[in-house]
């Protein structure tokens, strides 16, 4: 019996209309401010995450345009040296920590529970907490920028520039604490992803039947879990050096500046794959749908994802080829860096084979996949080039590298992401985006991107270094820079059009049919947008392409309660039902806990004692969060 005295109600006793209204009553998010602050619905939080991340993308894009304006010809004075340093640091830190990683996790927050056929993400309150913390970190960074105290030490914050000797003021501390905010939030989401994928899959969704996007997010989550603690320890050590006088990075007292580089890149290189692997999953999803057949080489794809994840930890030193490490080490890291091209190649050839064999439907998402394939392969090729020590020595810290990583990050991750937004937009809104505008968006982004960034390869070979605020006319870099700057406006126009399309379609787009693209995965087995409880009855999976193999009637399970938030726990490998566990209700405490954590973390930039007194409100909010409330969800 439940504490509230009402007898349990099972969905087996209910007809469809009553089932849906009972489920809606149990799982709903109430209106009003309280509802906004206390919801734990993965779809609402995922949507918030995605919107927030795209706002940061737009802000970071404005910074990029500022830099292109400054560099459009020699000796321009749009930005001062100090502002230029802040702007390129903000651009990098913002794009990596506030856009790329969060937006990929955000897509997973929204989609994973639907794709594996469950009613909410695992640890939904932690999910709410992670969003508030992420938002606070982003607001802190941009507020600092507005106050002219943004970090100015590069997104990697190398010591000694960021250390106590050269990094006066609080700018580097803002960077380091922004790391804490975003990494705690990313780690929290990683735990949710791991547990959702391993324990909440629909019955019958064995490991061999997990959609590739879900696989990619599972591998990504493990990368986050293993890589991000490094940057948290590193940034904490940096704050300690700056605030209480430790000497981790001070060579005159036994510390070492290269220690920082090792720590940073041991995190920083996997970070690239934390951004890229989700895109691999998105591309695999889009390719399968628009080719109308399963991805060729499912097992090879999964193994490629896993081996990329493993190799990602073995090549961080290729960022440090010019610091003078032993030659044996450099050779090792050259080999490991080149070897990661093998799983990447396997993926590319599997996609090509799928497209080759498929009946292609050239809708906007598939056009983004094609833009991705071309751009990413080019970025991958320059990647193999800079993996070689002599070549890297020549082009290190030049615009060649800027071109390379924008090819792999924008080509490799942003193109698939925008394609994925076009693809899943009907799921989130119930409406389709414009096919006509979408073609313009692809065209503008693809052409604008290549016109902007391809000349940077040449500028790099001509010797133009990164992170310089200007150059003199006798370097003869003017023409290519002007060309690049003008082309950047095409990219901006593409994104602007994309945002217009999103906002317009959200209200006025044509209503989407149930399964608008004829996709195979479970997120399309429910209405669009999905109800708060995702599925009226939990689906039962009999194949890797459930919606293709069961066209007439979907198999479902019954027996879950509707008077409490209940979902199904299944076994890790074979997804056999193990328990009907509960999922936490809405709660305001994660919001308060995030507020308390924000107070503690920001104060600790100024006094180490904030970690002591600041932990008291954190403790209080956590107790409020976890203390049993005697709701039916607490029954065991």
């Amino acid at each position: 019996m439940s504490d509230s005295g009402n007898p349990p109600v099972s969905d087996a006793q209910l007809e469809r209309p009553e089932l849906e209204s009972r489920l809606a009553a149990t799982w709903r998010t109430p209106g009003g401010l309280w509802g906004v602050l206390s919801t734990v619905d993965h779809k609402i939080i995922g949507r918030r995450y995605i919107v927030t991340a795209f706002v940061f993308l737009a802000l970071g894009g404005v910074l990029a345009l500022l830099m292109r304006l400054q560099l459009s010809s020699s000796e321009r004075r749009v930005l001062s040296t100090d502002w230029y340093n802040q702007v390129f640091t903000m651009h990098g830190a913002n794009m990596m920590f506030l856009f790329a990683v969060p937006v990929m996790e955000a897509m997973a927050i929204y989609l994973l529970p639907l794709m594996v056929g469950t009613r909410n993400i695992a640890f939904p309150r932690l999910n709410a907490f992670s969003y508030w913390l992420y938002l606070a970190g982003g607001v802190m960074l941009w507020t600092a920028f507005a106050l002219n105290m943004a970090p100015d030490v590069g997104w990697f914050a190398y010591v000694p520039l960021s250390g106590p000797q050269f990094g006066a003021g609080k700018r580097a501390d803002i960077w380091a604490q922004m790391i804490t905010f975003t990494e705690v939030s990313a780690l929290a989401v990683a735990i949710e992803i791991v547990v959702t994928v391993l324990k909440q899959r629909a019955p019958g969704m064995t490991l061999q039947r997990i959609p590739l996007f879900v696989w990619s997010m599972l591998v990504t989550a493990f990368l986050v879990i293993l890589a991000m603690p490094t940057i948290m320890i590193a940034s904490t050590s940096l704050i300690l050096d700056r605030l209480v006088g430790t000497h981790f990075f001070n060579p005159s007292e036994g510390g070492d500046v290269l220690l920082w580089q090792h720590l940073f890149w041991f995190f920083g290189h996997p970070e690239v794959y934390i951004i890229f692997l989700p895109a691999v999953g998105m591309v695999s999803t889009l390719v399968a749908t628009f080719a109308g057949r399963p991805v060729f080489g499912y097992l090879a794809m999964v193994l490629a994802l896993i081996s990329t994840g493993v190799l990602a930890f073995g090549l961080w030193v290729h960022h440090m080829f010019v610091v003078g490490l032993p030659r044996v080490g450099e050779s090792f890291f050259t080999i490991s860096s080149m070897s990661i091209a093998i799983p990447a190649g396997v993926q590319v050839f599997c996609w090509l084979a799928t497209l080759w064999d498929g009946r292609l439907s050239f809708r906007v998402p598939l056009l983004f996949v094609i833009a991705f394939l071309i751009t990413f392969v080019m970025g991958g090729l320059t990647g193999v080039m800079v993996a070689s020590v002599p070549l890297d020595t020549q082009v290190h810290d030049t615009y060649f590298v800027v071109a390379h990583f924008h090819y792999v990050l924008i080509g490799g991750a942003v193109f698939p992401l925008v394609g994925a937004i076009y693809y899943w937009f009907p799921k989130m809104s119930g409406r389709l985006m414009s096919e006509r505008l979408g073609r313009w968006v692809v065209g503008l982004l693809f052409a604008g991107f290549n016109l902007t960034f391809f000349p940077m390869h040449i500028l790099g070979l001509m010797g133009m270094p990164r992170r310089i605020y200007t150059y003199s006319p006798e370097m003869h870099w003017d023409t290519l820079n002007l060309f690049s700057s003008v082309s950047a406006t095409i990219v901006a126009a593409g994104f602007l059009l994309f945002f217009v399309d999103v906002i317009r379609s959200w209200r006025h787009g044509p209503l989407a049919p149930e399964n608008p693209w004829g996709a195979a995965t479970l997120e399309w087995a429910t209405t669009s947008p999905p109800p708060s409880y995702n599925f009226p009855r939990v689906p039962v999976v009999g194949s890797a392409q459930p919606l293709w193999d069961e066209r007439d009637s979907v198999a479902v399970a019954c027996g879950l309660r509707v008077d409490r938030r209940e979902l199904l726990i299944t076994s890790v490998v074979s997804a056999q039902p193990q328990a009907r566990d509960s999922s936490p209700r809405n709660s305001i405490w994660p919001f308060f806990a995030a507020l308390a954590s924000t107070l503690m973390l920001i104060s600790s930039i100024f006094t180490p004692w904030a970690m002591v007194w600041g932990s008291v409100p954190v403790l209080i909010t956590l107790v409020g969060w976890f203390w049993p409330k005697g709701t039916p969800e607490d029954e065991g």
Partner: protein, 200 residues
């Protein structure tokens, strides 16, 4: 789309234990995160050691007393901790209540001695990089002792309320037992680094 019922879940338990519980997996993933953090701390220690002309740097090796006492207390705590886990599996609530109180004491005791441990390091954090990394390792582990103690105290408090008569609480106890094992086991390599490597 039409649907047909293929599976009835109503006979399943309302809450899974062990690896059928999401909390168990969450705790395991959290341990993986914290374990990575400890590994990074130790890697920093080894790195700084490898570039140092001598180790310890300009200090006497840490005094063995307090650190060894903490180690012995932590090792001894594994016995009651194991018993609490066993009682939780047997659903012996009274024993679990008493055992969790005992584990609170086993959380407080090493923290008291730890205060002396910082003194016995024979070096301040701001003396040199050797001092910094010693304080980092000890501080990192102490944070885990403090947070797990807070967790255990709150859990003990819950166990004396009406919410104790619940499978779910016993699951919480088992997860707490697992996490304490982790806190104890991660201490051992740190103990070796701080106290014994400088004596090699």
């Amino acid at each position: 789309m039409k649907e047909h019922v293929q599976l009835d879940l109503s006979a399943l338990p309302l809450h899974g234990r062990g690896d059928a519980s999401p909390t168990w997996w969450g705790t395991a993933a959290f341990m993986l995160i914290e374990g990575s953090a400890f590994a990074v701390g130790i890697a920093m220690y080894v790195y700084l050691l490898s570039i140092a002309p001598s180790w310890p740097l300009a200090a006497a090796p840490p005094g063995l007393g307090p650190g060894t006492i903490v180690t012995l207390i932590l090792l001894a705590s594994l016995v009651p901790n194991w018993l609490v886990g066993r009682w939780a599996r047997q659903e012996a609530l009274r024993k679990v209540q008493v055992g969790t109180l005992v584990m609170c004491l086993f959380g407080i005791a090493p923290l008291v001695v730890r205060a002396y441990e910082f003194k016995a390091l024979n070096v301040w954090w701001d003396a040199n990089a050797y001092g910094s990394v010693l304080w980092l390792l000890l501080g990192l582990h102490s944070t885990h002792l403090v947070t797990d103690l807070a967790d255990t105290i709150v859990l003990a408090a819950v166990l004396f309320t009406r919410h104790a008569h619940n499978q779910r609480r016993l699951g919480d106890v088992e997860d707490n037992v697992m996490y304490w094992n982790f806190v104890v086991l991660t201490w051992l390599p740190i103990y070796g680094c701080i106290y014994w490597i400088p004596r090699l």
